[in-house]
Amino acid sequence: MTLKSLLLAASVAAMPVAALAEGAVKVGMITTLSGGGAGLGIDVRDGFMLAVKQSGNDAIEVVIEDDQRKPDIAVQLADKMIQSEKVDVLTGIIWSNLAMAVVPGATAQGKFYLSPNAGPSALAGKGCHKNYFNVAWQNDNLHEAAGAYANSAGYKNSFILAPNYPAGKDALTGYKRQYGGGLAGEVFTQLGQTDYASEIAQIRASGADSVFFFLPGGMGISFLKQYADSGVDLPVVGPAFSFDQGILQAVGAAALGVKNTSQWNKDIDNPANAAFVASFQAEYGRLPSLYASQGFDTANLLLSAMAKADVKDTDAFRAALEAADFASVRGNFAFGSNHHPVQNIYVREVIQEGDVFTNKIIGTALENHADVYAADCKM
């Protein structure tokens, strides 16, 4: 907060932006810091800033702004970052619809964009761009992994549900892409819906042997609580979003035992991860979430590229980013031809450690998995 106001004060003054040191990089972070979805943005920011702090690199300057989860505000902030702040790199956006609003314009103006969370298919396929890098996942990835897990668990008849909006439709498509069994039912819920009694009744009546759902944020919390109370006890799978550290405490015991897919967990065994989890807890007094890990990795990717090339030398800097030469907290990490991750996706189970609900990895759903849109990407 103090950092932000200082920077703001500096930028409001009408003097020309002071020339930064050679090799310095100015980063514009547009993320959600107020309103209902603020938890995700705060985690990304905290993860990112932790990595910056640990690097001790003072050639990196970060300007942070709150997009209020509104696309038009995000676009306006991107304009501000580019026009006024004259940043070199943009990052931070949580939501696919905001990314779709900001990324094409930013990359067209020659800026780098590093996505710490959203990975809409349009940006991975036909709409890919050489200056756009996704450090999290392509949106379909975790759903595909859930489908793969469903196969290995022997599910033959899934009931699947997601909100009626593009990311929801992508989720069901992603699940079906890997899943080989039949469907007991397929339901689109309303975006922002809070009561799932009607859907749960349909699940009960459908004769399904498993349930797959993608309901991010509060929708997932509501669904899980109501599902647990309904007496339907079919196994549930879903992507990590509804079982992440930030919201798991709010779901409580209702989530225990649920399998979910994620490219990261705090128990992934590598030194970078161990150090990250410990230092994040020390710095902020809470367990890191998936989003924090993605923010942390995004910053480290950027720092690794800065060590190799000057951001003003766009081609060299891009090559340095493509190399992805940093110690990711998720272990092996590489970019595919469309600048989206090629990585393992794990299956986690929700467990209880003392008073705290958390996840532990129980297997690998997909190894070195890339997305299906890379073929459409012509850079």
Binding site: P16, S34, K70, M100, G105, A167
Partner: protein
Amino acid sequence: MTRETVVNAALTLGLLIVPMWALMADEPFIITLATRVAILALAGVGLNIALGLGGLVSLGHAAFFGLGGYAMGILASHAQSYTPLITWPVGIEGTTSMPLIWLVAVLAAGLGALVIGALSLRTSGVYFIMITLAFGQMLYYFAISWPAYGGEDGLSIYLRNGFPGLNTLVPIQFLALCYGLLAIALILSARLAASPFGLALNAARQSAARVQAVGLSPYRLRLVAFVISGMITGLAGALFADLNRFVSPTMFSWQTSGEIMVFVILGGVGRLFGPVAGAAVFIILEHVLGGISDYWHIYLGALLLLIVLFARGGLIGLLAGKAAHHG
């Protein structure tokens, strides 16, 4: 020269000087902000015709804002992908020409306002507020779940649309265009208020029975006002989409309706320059307060509350005193 004229002139001067300064100081973002102020003020000018003159408290003007925005998004996306808009019964192509887009946006919003207004104006008071809200929500949910034009993801237009003789990608030129439209809308709205129609509409707000007794139909007066109001807000929607090069269902959300209403009330209901003052102050607050704290909404809320409670007549009322009675 009344005090209100002085305040209006000062506002106009401010709106002109700030971008000029920004141009010289090479602060293009300030120009973008001024453009935003102009466009949102235009939306407010539209709403003010229904709200200030007609007394129609519409909590659904986002519907027209969004219709204008989507008119732009749909036409431009078809033009950019070289796919025809419709092929039957006649082939219609998309377009990236602003004047054409504006025309379509205004017509679409006007048609929307005609249908929504014709049904909603059967009610009055709180029921009217709520039924307009309901129509806005209908369009909002429709836009979210209608896959053809991006649904909740919205629709990106990678290049700003063109205007003959201007390079709209240059911020100051696009700003000039928006200022021009805002000025035209302000002049039209001032003349409308003084016109026979304005007289009758204003009277219908104060006493519907009187207007009926002289042989005029308040319903029709209000409907026409609602349509004009929707058209101007629709035009603002098309410009807003062009400013962001992006449209999304949030343009339809009830918060958008609420914000447009906030501009009008903040500035002063029924005051010619009310929406301009309201939009300018709102945008400045958003930027100044947003820098102070993550919890800046608290301060914004407190400020709005103080204005409603203690500065009746909005900012213009605060600066210029009670409304003058032209007679």
